[in-house]
Each structure stands twice: as C-alpha cells, then as structure tokens.
Point group: C2
Chain length 226, copies 2
DNA sequence: CGACTATTTGAGGCGTATCAAGAAGTGTGG
DNA sequence: CCACACTTCTTGATACGCCTCAAATAGTCG
C-alpha cells in the first residue's frame, strides 16, 4: 500500500479517502494531475468556487482569512501528505498560497463526490478528515484565546516538530510573519520568544539559517505549552 | 416533517440526520430519551468516553476546554435545536455544562453509527454537521487571533441575534464571564465594551435585566465586526 | 430583608504591539 | 566571486489595549 507506507500518523491521503488504493490507481480513477506553484503564488482565493482538492507532495501551503484592513489569520499550514481545499459548501473558506515552491496532487471535487455518493467508506473518510481539521481548529482556539506568547510559540514548535517527523530538527518553511499570523501575534513577538528560548537553551538556531531550529529540551517546551 | 418545520436555518436536527424522519419516529428507532440538567451542571467532561449525542430542547449549554491553571476557552454555545457531543474519536473533546436549566434529547452514539454505517444519507448528514462546526471554529479563530475587544463583542451580539431568531431582542442565557471566555477576554472588558455600545446608542439594556439587550443599530455593529 | 452573585466602573500595571534601526541572510548581475 | 539591492530577522524604546485588583451598584433568591 503506497499510500499507507508514507502515512505513519494515520492521516488519510487522497489515496486513503478512496480506501487505500495505491496513488497510481487514483490518477486513473479520478484523473488526478499534479500542479506546481511558485513561492507566494495563490492556489485559490477565499470564496472562489471550490472545484479542486489538493494533496501536498512537496513544499508547504498556508490557508488564511483576512479582515478588511489587512489583518490576517493563518488557520493552518499544509505540509507534504496533507490534504487541503476540502469543502462542504460551494466556495473555499480560505485563501491558500504556496509558502515555498510547492507541488500538489489535484483532484476535481466532483470526481470525489461521485464516488463518495455511492461508497460509504469513501464518505466516512471524508468525515474523518473533516473531524481531524475540526480537532485542530478547536485546539487552536484555546491557543489563540488563552495562551501567552511564549506558550503559543512553544506549542507551535512542538506541532511542527511532530509533523516534521519528530526528529527535533525543524526546518521551518515559513517566515516569522507567517508564524505570527498563525499564532495571533506580531513577528517581533515571535522573534523575541524564539530568542528567549534560545537563551534558555531550549533550542538552538542552525549556523546557516534562522529557519533551522534544533530542539534541545522538549520537556521544557511541553511544560510551557501548559 | 416535524424536524424540518422548526429548522429554518437548515441546521440538521437529530431527526434530520436520520433523514427527515419525524422526531417521534427517532425515539422509536434510536431509543432516544430526554434528560434535564440544572444550572451549571456538567453534562459530560473532557476526554470522557463519548457515548451520547445531545440535541438541546430548551436552555443553553457551553462547551469548553481548560488549561492546567484554570484558564478557560469556551468554543461554542449550544441553543435550542443545536446538536452537540458529536465525536469522531473515542472521547469528548470538551466539557459541556448547562448554563441554565436545560432539557436535551439524548441519543446513544452507537445507535446512530449503526445506521450511518449502512445509510449513506445519514453519513452525509454527519459530515455536513461536522463541516458546519468547522466553519464556526475557523471564523472564531479569526476573531480570537485578530479582532479587538470591541469587534469581538460586536460579532458576539450579531451571532446571538442571528441564532436567537434575529429579532434584535437578545435574551442572553450566559453571564459576562461566559461571554468573556468565549471571546478570549475578561468579563470586565466585555462589560466595558457593552457599556460603550450602550453609550453610542448601538444597543440598550432592558430595564429589568442586563442580560436582555435590544439592538438599536445593527449596521453600526456590522461595521464594527469588520 | 439579608446574603449572595452578577455587573459596572475606576485606577493602575503588564504584556504585547508599534515604531525604528541595525544585522543577517538571499538573490542578482557584473 | 564580489557588489548591491532587497528581504528577513533581531533587538531596543516606547505606546497602548486589555488585564488585574478593588470597590460600589444592581440583581437574584431564600
């Protein structure tokens, strides 16, 4: 099972949604294709018709909402093997942009819905994906409503470490402003929190880049996450 | 169709989930019963086994998470005809408490899942409910991450007005602290925002109670909501 | 009526935002 | 490979919005 083997965290891929069929078969069954997006390129805009569903192959994507005066809230980052663009209504609820050069598998929505209408296992996978997104959103509400800046940054680092295979070596694809807009802070506050954690020997920046972070004391981070 | 007639906003009731069967029939089919909860009584606790699904008949319920030091984030208020306690995982993700004296229809989870496993229309209704919850959570993330206290209170009033039939007469079942914990603020800040809106003639308190609010300028509120 | 809870209002403090400047990193063309 | 422009990140100084603490008022219920 191709789609299972690269899926340790039990997150369904588009292959899993149509029941563990190897990715190759999905292409045949759904006419899935691949698309490539440059850095900062928009993949779709908020309230556009939601025609396609995407699975990140490589790169990273941000999904966000904006207020009329430009304040932005990033609601999720999508990393390789993540699915995004799954909608129940007619239109997309977010704008999605590639954070770095990104390739994605693209499935037409009606193809998937056609199968889901007759196959209850497909429908159940759609439900479990949506439930997973809901779980993440609810935890993020607690973070945005009640955690301090340090707690937010600690939670972010733990989330990224976990999603980037938990090696303690985090290669962040996104800039400080993206992190800030995800955590409901400013980029300066994020930077200060990271510097503080570095001074406390909880983490280290790599020599080459401030986006490469090495976790040195995960227990301390977990304590900060409350 | 009983369940349709009291359902103008197209929110599925437990009746709708099993396809528009009148409520009477649900009781027979699922063995649904009714339960009553006193003010501040816990309905279920976070991470308890999620055995039951509830539909508010009368009253109001809050669903919340807490941090170890007591900070609380209310993620949703449940009003009459709302369903809550629907989980995809094994355990509840929130604590649910009655805000006032509340009666609810109770359905055993496995009864519903038994039907959903074979009936794709039931499964699709479960998906659409979860998607609706997700939509609300995502909008609330924007509020918690990026809106000012005044914008949050304005958004709250508009949400409550809409859910309480949009008459402009809002009888809030919850106290200021509950509102604050829903909006990621303190109760004093909520109180100050409401007083400010009263001074601006955007709303009025009823003579009898500060929980009865009359909206006088909804346009102004919508402007504040960004 | 009296005890208790909920709400309002005020004064002051704190945490994060804002503004600003410099350092570090990245990319491009010569 | 370096020079230059540009973006990203860090750090400092200050401002401000919301929180905290406190007290008075209003509302609720026995």
């Amino acid at each position: 099972m191709l789609s299972r083997s690269r899926n340790p965290a039990n997150q369904p891929t588009i292959g899993d949604i149509i029941q563990e069929v190897p990715v190759i078969a999905i292409h045949a069954r759904f006419g899935a294709s691949e698309a490539c997006f440059g850095k900062d390129e928009e993949i779709y805009g908020e309230s556009e018709p939601a025609d396609c569903i995407f699975e990140v192959i490589s790169g990273a994507v941000r999904s966000y909402k904006v207020l009329s005066d430009g304040r932005r809230q990033i609601c999720a980052f999508h990393l390789p093997s993540d699915i995004f663009g799954l909608e129940n209504g007619i239109n997309y609820r977010f704008t999605a942009e590639a954070i770095v050069e990104t390739t994605a598998r693209v499935v037409r929505r009606h193809s998937l819905e056609y199968v889901a209408a007759s196959d209850i296992r497909v429908a159940r996978n759609l439900l479990s994906m949506t439930a997973r997104n809901l779980l993440h959103a609810e935890n993020h509400m607690l973070l945005l409503g009640r955690k301090t800046s340090l707690e937010r940054v600690a939670a972010f680092l733990l989330e990224m470490d976990q999603r980037l295979k938990g090696t303690g070596m985090i290669a962040l694809p996104m800039c400080r402003r993206d992190i800030a807009d995800y955590l409901g802070l400013t980029l300066e506050t994020v930077s200060r929190a990271l510097s503080y954690l570095r001074d406390q020997h909880v983490l280290e920046f790599s020599e080459t880049s401030q986006r490469q972070i090495v976790l040195q004391d995960r227990q301390q981070l977990q304590k900060l996450d409350s």
